[in-house]
Amino acid sequence: MSSGPIIEVKDLVRKFGNRTVLNGISFTVEKGDTMIIMGGSGCGKSTLLRHIIGSLTPTSGSIKIFGKETTTMSPKEMEALRLRFGMNFQFGALLQSLTVGENVALPLIENSKVDPEIIDLVVKMKLELVGLTGFENLKPAEISGGMRKRVGLARAVALDPELLFSDEPTSGLDPIMTAVIDQLTLDLTRKLDMTAVVVTHDMTSAFRIGTKMIVLGAGKRAGTIIASGTPDDVRNSPDPEVQQFIKGEPDGPVPLKLAPEDYIDRLLGHERSKGKAY
């Protein structure tokens, strides 16, 4: 295996229609890193993650995972590559027709030839990790959103992947559970040498687990990286937008309101009122 970076993203651009969501993103993730992707809601964090896992194809740019270019990869190669990483979706994305236990067992049943008894054991172990022992036989609809998320994480690590992607793993969890999930991510990356890419806008969590960070901008700088480096680099970034984001201030470079003189115009403006009936 090559000793280069695990993930290498270069000049990634993605346009939806004429809206540029990602505009020249470049970063690398080394083995054992926990890369945090931060940024305001709707700035393209999840879109960036979707490109890295190969669900979306970029307009231009290159993405290399384990040294292999994924943007031009055949579906077959992609399938093999995907066995080496786990993805924890924002809302869990559990199969509603299966129980919690079956959901966690799914990657094992489908992608390995393991004995059912061992699968059972692994499922219990993984659920124990996320603090959901005894919930195996419930359906995803019968547990809370935060629990679903944790089942999603258990499923993502079921095959002990080398690389873990997590889309807002702690949003909607209580502070204690957030700490548990953070501790779990730390354990996996520090002890098992797993590499992780975590999308979050929870600052406490980000600085607790991150070894590297990138911050995506908003407004005029949407879709570009406005700060990157170690957590300390980002914390000490001179960029006022980054500071506003870290400190969670309502007003700053990202304005709370647009200019007040336009307010009446925007309220009474006709271009919007012709839209939908409600």
Binding site: A93, Q96, E110
Partner: protein, 254 residues
């Protein structure tokens, strides 16, 4: 046009996962999933198919008897029933029932999975959604449609018998003999071929519409409606084409 090429590519992928993938040592379609779908699509449709078939058998016998009585030929009612049920009405009505019950359910189910990222999650776990979700539904429909049509034939004949026995003074034995006498093997097989083709089309159309859903709950509803409408349309057109094929194959002059 894009829809049509997608339709054929979906067909190819389904056939690949059913027939080619197991030979290449890849995981094939799970039998349990197929049985599960067969129960949902086939077994649970039995009461509804029974009711529609019984009604159409009774109706057909009454309508036929009414017309044939004017020529004093009510003894030909079983002939009428045999031809129209075996060749046409049983496959068509079963098709409509299956579209309404299962086709719509498949589209709604796959569509909901699509909008709630479940399909994407499967892909990211290297589980091919065609193999895991589409192929079992396809197999179940292709297997259960002909079974349901055989059942529908029988129930339809029972409906016809009710009229013949109690309104036309024809006893059960002569009804059955007349039926067996008038129905040919081709009548039965053309119905079977139709039901197989209908099952195939319903499966692929419903799955394609489901996998294409975008735009949340509204999108799921829209696609489900489209799927039902398109399935019925395609079924009727293909029915006409197949009937034309059979018509020329067994051309009436010989």
């Amino acid at each position: 046009m894009a829809g049509l090429s997608q339709f054929f590519s979906l067909n190819a992928q389904i056939l690949y996962w059913i027939f080619v993938a197991p030979l290449r040592g890849k995981p094939g379609v799970r039998p349990f999933a197929v049985f599960h779908q067969m129960v949902r699509i086939g077994v649970q449709a039995v009461p509804m198919v029974a009711l529609t078939s019984l009604s159409i058998g009774v109706t057909l016998a009454m309508q036929g008897a009414h017309e044939l009585a004017r020529m004093g030929a009510t003894s030909f009612v079983p002939d009428l029933l045999a031809i129209s049920l075996l060749r046409e009405l049983a496959p068509l009505l079963t098709g409509v029932v299956v579209i309404g019950r299962s086709g719509s359910a498949i589209t709604a189910e796959l569509g909901t999975m699509k909008v709630s990222e479940e399909i994407e999650a499967l892909e990211v776990m290297s589980i091919n959604p065609i193999r895991f979700l589409v192929a079992p539904r396809f197999l179940a429909l292709v297997i259960m449609m002909p079974c349901l049509v055989v059942f529908s034939n029988y129930v339809g004949f029972v409906g016809g018998w009710l009229i013949c026995q109690f309104a036309l003074d024809m006893n059960a034995l002569s009804y059955i003999l007349r039926l067996v006498d008038s129905a040919s093997g081709m009548d039965f097989f053309s119905g079977m071929i139709k039901s197989f083709v209908f099952g195939w089309l319903i499966a692929v159309i419903s799955c394609q519409k489901g996998l294409n859903v975008t735009g949340g709950a509204e999108g799921v509803g829209q696609s489900t409606t489209n799927s039902v409408v398109l399935s019925i349309l395609v079924m009727l057109v293909v029915d006409a084409l197949l009937t034309a094929c059979f018509f020329f194959i067994e051309s009436p002059t010989t």
